[in-house]
Each structure stands twice: as structure tokens, then as C-alpha cells.
Symmetry: C2
Subunit: 379 residues, 2 copies
């Protein structure tokens, strides 16, 4: 893990927002591409020639790149394939222990921290009750302690790349400053990333819980690197995370994905946000009435709006409320989408329950650190 150059992301940003491409950018791009294929290949590994085919690079280039990766300890040989009449292909695999990342999920009533290896697999996990409203200092203290014990107990902890932190409510992903965590105004303006980074002496990345969940699904959910989907989380509230071309779309002020307060009923019933007719309010009301089918229909309408606007190729549902009756929600949402697709003359967008019901927020938070290694930085 001892790369020499490319420290903090090739600081050649232009004033206009676009970046020139240095030679090192090319190298790290192709390295990331190869690493990503090694990761998706899993423990069975993948041969050099296959890597060459799938990247479009020449076998020689792949040999060079994989040689560097092996020097760095990121890749290793793992046996051989059966020969097809010549020298058998040597299989390469990612070395999961070459690096680790921490993922922390600060939920309203619970803290979950995980230590993941390079493949994203959970090496160690801790959970503890938490009161998000207990104030920033208290929560930070808790998080630091839990993370510390996790790393200490992790046995032979390899290099820890950093910590990803996911929590509810709007925040600025770039600066790592919280805006106003829903229901906990005392967090307003708290520079969580910098405080935690200093306390942990590690790089820290913060993001919305729904974005973390979506990232986890993008990387681990078997979705290819080019897929686009919307993850809709229906729990105590209704939120969303957008993955476009394999990377999380956060928007200019990193506030994208606000799905719950989409207005689908002009001058409808009031919502907690102060507006009227938000999907969240309507869905929650329907659930309160026990009318799950109606909740699914309303959710489907909002999802249909999203699909029409962005043309994603998948809708994933998750969250505690969905977990109560997953089939009903999937069927309800899918029905609305199918009807709209039929009218538009196109194929319907598939709807599925997110693997793990989207509960892997902490794992997704760890991916905030891991994903960039595999070329999944911001789109």
C-alpha cells in the first residue's frame, strides 16, 4: 500500500471545474480499472488475459499493471486455470487484507461500526445504543471509543485507509459539515468530518445514510460498474440515494437524492417539513391507516417521476417499513412503473428489494473510502 505519488487526488483542478489529465491520472485510472475487475472476480480470481480483454488494454500493459499491484501487495497469484492447449493462465486475485476501511453508521438510536477489508467484507463489527440527540461531543466520544476498540480488536489490523461516517439528514459531503440532522437541530453546522479526522488521526468522509446504503448496493449488490439505479429507503422517513454510472450522484451542493419531500399532491395534507403533499407524508399516513397497498402506489408514483426524469435502469427498495411487507411494496411500485412504461411504449424498469433490505449502511460507509480505489469516485 505504499504508493509513491498521487497523494490527494491529483490536485490539478481547473477554475472551470474540469481537470486536465496528467500522466499519473492515466496510470491510476487503469490501475483502478484492473483492481475493480479483481474485486468483482472475488476469491476465484481472474487471469491476466481476461483482464486485458475486459479493459481493452494489451496483455503486456496488464502484466505491467498487475506486477505493480503485486509489488504493492494488493494482488497475488492464486493458482492456475486448466490449460487449453498451451501454458495455463495464472489466476490473480485481490489480497483483501492489504487494506481496511472503517464504516460508521450513526443512526437515531444506534451506532454501528464495521471494519471492512478491501473487498468490502466485514472483518469486525460493533453495535451500541446511541442517542443522536445527546449532543455532538457525546456522540463523537462514543464513535471514537467504538472505532478504537474495533481497530484494537481487529487483530492484525492492516493499513486502515480511513473512516466513512453515514448519518441521517442533510449535510455537506464535500466539507463534511452537517446542516441540520432531521429532528436534531443542535447538530447544525457541526464540522463532523474535521473533528473526527483529528480525533481518529485518519481520513474521514461523511455522507447521508441513504447515499452510503446506495453506494454499498452499487459496489456489493452485484450491479455492474456502469449501472444506474435509485435506492429508495422507507423507514421512519422516506429518503433516496442515486447511483448514476456506478457512482453516487450528489449534485452541486451535495444535497441530491432528497426524494421524500417530492410533492405528488398539490395542496395535499401537510408534511413535517412544512410543505404539503410530500410523498413521505402521504406514504406514512397510508401506512398508519394500515393501507400498505396505497402507500406502495404513492411510492410508485414518486418512483415513476424519478424514472421518467433520470431513466435509471433499476429501482431498489429498502428500509424498515418496506421490510414489513416487501412483496407488497415491490408489486405496488412495479405496477405503477409498468403502467407508465406501457403508456410510453418502453420496457418497464425492474423493481427489487435491496439486498439486506438496505440495512448495510455501515458497510456502505466503509465503501466511501474503498470505492475510490476502484475508480468509483464521484461521477
Amino acid at each position: 500500500m505504499n504508493r509513491t505519488e498521487d497523494g490527494a487526488g491529483d490536485a490539478g483542478a481547473t477554475r472551470a471545474g474540469r481537470t486536465s489529465m496528467r500522466l499519473g491520472a492515466l496510470r491510476s485510472h487503469n490501475s483502478a480499472l484492473v483492481l475493480d475487475l479483481l474485486r468483482t472476480a472475488g476469491p476465484e480470481g481472474i487471469s491476466r488475459l481476461e483482464l486485458a480483454e475486459r479493459t481493452g488494454l494489451t496483455p503486456q500493459a496488464v502484466s505491467k499493471i498487475t506486477a505493480r499491484l503485486r509489488e504493492d501487495g494488493l494482488a497475488a497469484e492464486a493458482g492456475h486455470r486448466a490449460s487449453t492447449g498451451g501454458k495455463p493462465r495464472t489466476v490473480l486475485r485481490l489480497v483483501p487484507e492489504a487494506g481496511h476501511a472503517l464504516g460508521v453508521h450513526l443512526d437515531r438510536d444506534e451506532l454501528t461500526a464495521v471494519l471492512c477489508d478491501l473487498t468490502g467484507a466485514v472483518v469486525a463489527r460493533r453495535s451500541a445504543p446511541l442517542d443522536l440527540g445527546a449532543g455532538a461531543e457525546t456522540v463523537v466520544e462514543r464513535a471514537v471509543r467504538e472505532v478504537g476498540e474495533l481497530v484494537a480488536g481487529g487483530g492484525r489490523a492492516g493499513v486502515v485507509l480511513g473512516a466513512g461516517v453515514a448519518l441521517p439528514g442533510p449535510l455537506d459531503h464535500r466539507s463534511g459539515v452537517l446542516h441540520r440532522v432531521t429532528g436534531f437541530p443542535e447538530w447544525n453546522g457541526f464540522p463532523l468530518r474535521d473533528v473526527l479526522a483529528r480525533r481518529l488521526s485518519l481520513p474521514v468522509v461523511v455522507d447521508k445514510d441513504t447515499n452510503a446504503a446506495a453506494l454499498g448496493l452499487a459496489v456489493g449488490g452485484g450491479a455492474g460498474s456502469g449501472t444506474s439505479f435509485a435506492y429508495l429507503h422507507f423507514g421512519a422517513g422516506l429518503g433516496g440515494g442515486l447511483v448514476i454510472d456506478g457512482t453516487v450522484h450528489r449534485g452541486t451542493r451535495t444535497g441530491a437524492g432528497e426524494f421524500g419531500h417530492q410533492v405528488v399532491q398539490l395542496d395535499g395534507p401537510p408534511c413535517g417539513c412544512g410543505n404539503r403533499g410530500c410523498v413521505e407524508a402521504l406514504c406514512l399516513a397510508a401506512v398508519a391507516r394500515g393501507d400498505v397497498a396505497e402507500a406502495a402506489r404513492v411510492l410508485g408514483t414518486a418512483a415513476g417521476n424519478l424514472v421518467a426524469l433520470l431513466d435509471v435502469d433499476l429501482v431498489l427498495l429498502g428500509g424498515r417499513t418496506v421490510a414489513v411487507a416487501p412483496e407488497t411494496y415491490v408489486r405496488g411500485v412495479a405496477a405503477v412503473l409498468a403502467e407508465r412504461a406501457r403508456r410510453a411504449g418502453s420496457d418497464a424498469v425492474p423493481v427489487r428489494v435491496a439486498s439486506g433490505a438496505g440495512q448495510g449502511v455501515a458497510e456502505g460507509a466503509a465503501q466511501l473510502l474503498l470505492a475510490p480505489l476502484f475508480g468509483r469516485a464521484e461521477g
Copy 2:
């Protein structure tokens, strides 16, 4: 314009959808970056050192790149700046006549064709009445004739890069096949791109009219290369085009941007699309009643949904209906967005009328060919 290598876009696509980076990709990327800055600099030009600062490249690299561009005839020296104590900077500018692109707008009742130079400036323009419902062959015939006369009359026509064609209704941008142009079912499945490409013996790109308009605004509207905005077109219908990070977002099946049939009133009044409560239906109904303020409010609600979901940094309005009372629409939409931003505790997203009221669809269509030269290919 005689580039040697990089023919049809570096055909090293991976099965997973991501591309490896050859050496030539780096070159063309940086060339495009410089070219884009030359374009935005306009006739006044820009010095090499300024190019170096803005791209992050070294002055030497810029010298090499601009030397190539001058060899190819794309750039030229244009005088000197005042000295600041040393050798004065030589100013470079884009040579607009080094290449041209055709833009064709097939509207329901009118055909507009333009010939643009590299800067996107219109060199020649023709308009003619058109009946989009007259059938594919008739329309193609008309388009070919108009384009032919345009090129012939264009005087010393430089190299024509190709033709961009914009028309209403859903279509597949990638394959260039129409789905069902709204109201003209006979177009269903017509391979417009290939037919026109054969007839014109030119590369042809087709896209929705709203996407073309949005692209024109993204390139010519003074918006920086990194901006994201939504262009909402309210004319006979209501549509939209999304620009994210300076490039048009088209989605997996190139159907993105369907804004008009966003449902904002569950079980509301029926819409022509067969659904109920679509923005388009509500806005049109309000306009028919003469209640423009209400139309603006409804439009603002839908725009607010879009802004919350994508976090763009600008909303542009255009179209004939907006042009009737632009101030009313801007104020109405902005009011809704400001109110929502206030509740969320963030800054309001600015709303403006698109320059030219978004009527420059043909110019935008020409940009379908020009934009890739400046690195504005699909994001």
C-alpha cells in the same frame, strides 16, 4: 482537421461499460480542454500562459498542444497582449472556419436548418414550413433538400463534421431510431439517423429537441463547463433537458428528461398521456383558464421536486408559452423554490429565462456534433 489516429472514439469499451484509457485518450482529452478554453475565449483569444494556468498543465505542454492545433488549422495566433515587463504574450484564438456542423430542427410545423462554425455561430440559416405528420420519406426528402441548399449556399464551406437533428418526442439517441414522436405514430421505429446519414453522406446524430436546446444553452449560454442545470421547455407541451457537469444527461435508454408527465397531483385530472395529475396537464389547464400565476406555481412545484432530487444549480425556462409572460413564470417558479430552500435551510436555486427563450434548437442540434470536440461528450 486531419487528425491521424483516434478514429471513432477510442473503441476500447469494456463489457462492463467502462473504458480503459489509452495514451491517445489523454492527448485528445487535453486537446479538447484547450480547445474548449479557446472557444470560450472568443475572438479576443487567450494566451498560452493563461491556458496553462486554467488547465493545470505546464506552459510547455500547452505550447506543444497549441502547436498541434495550429498545424491542424484549428488555432491561430491573433496579435499580442501588452507587455508587463517582458516578452508580450502571444494571443491564440480558435479558427472558426476550420470546421462546420449542420443543425436541423424538425418541429411539428416548421423545419429550421443552420450551418454553424466551430464556435457555434450561425453561418447560414434556412427555414421552411413542414408537416411532421406527412410521413417519414417526405420529411427526410425535405430535410435533405434544405440541408443541401444550405451547404451549397454556404459559400466556401469548410469541412462539414456532420449533422445534428433535433425533433420532439421520445427517441433512442444512441441508435438514432425514433420511438413514437408525440402525435405522429407513423414515425414509430423509423431509423432516422441511418437513413439521413446515408442520404447526406455525413455523420448524423439525432436527439430530442429539449436536449438539443439544453445543450445549446450549456455550451453557448455562458454557463461554465462544470455547471448543472435543468432546462424546462413550456410550449405546446412541457418537456425538459438535463445538463449535469456540462454534458446532457440522457440516461440508460436515452429517455431521461421526461419532465412533463411528472405526477404532482395524485388522481388529478386526466392527461393526454393516459395518466392523471401530470404537470403538463395541470399547467396547460391553468393557462387555458388564463391563470398564469397558477401555472407558474405548479411548474415551480415540479421544478422543486427536480431540484431536490438532483441538486442542480440553475433552472432555465423557455418555450413559447413562457415567452408570453416570462416574468410571471420566473417569479412564480422562483417563489416556490425559494420557499422550499428556506425550509431546508439552504440557498435558493436561481431561476432564469433561457437566452433566446430556448428557441435555438437548431443551433443546439449543431452542437451535438461540435460539443464532443470540446470534451463535452456524454457524462
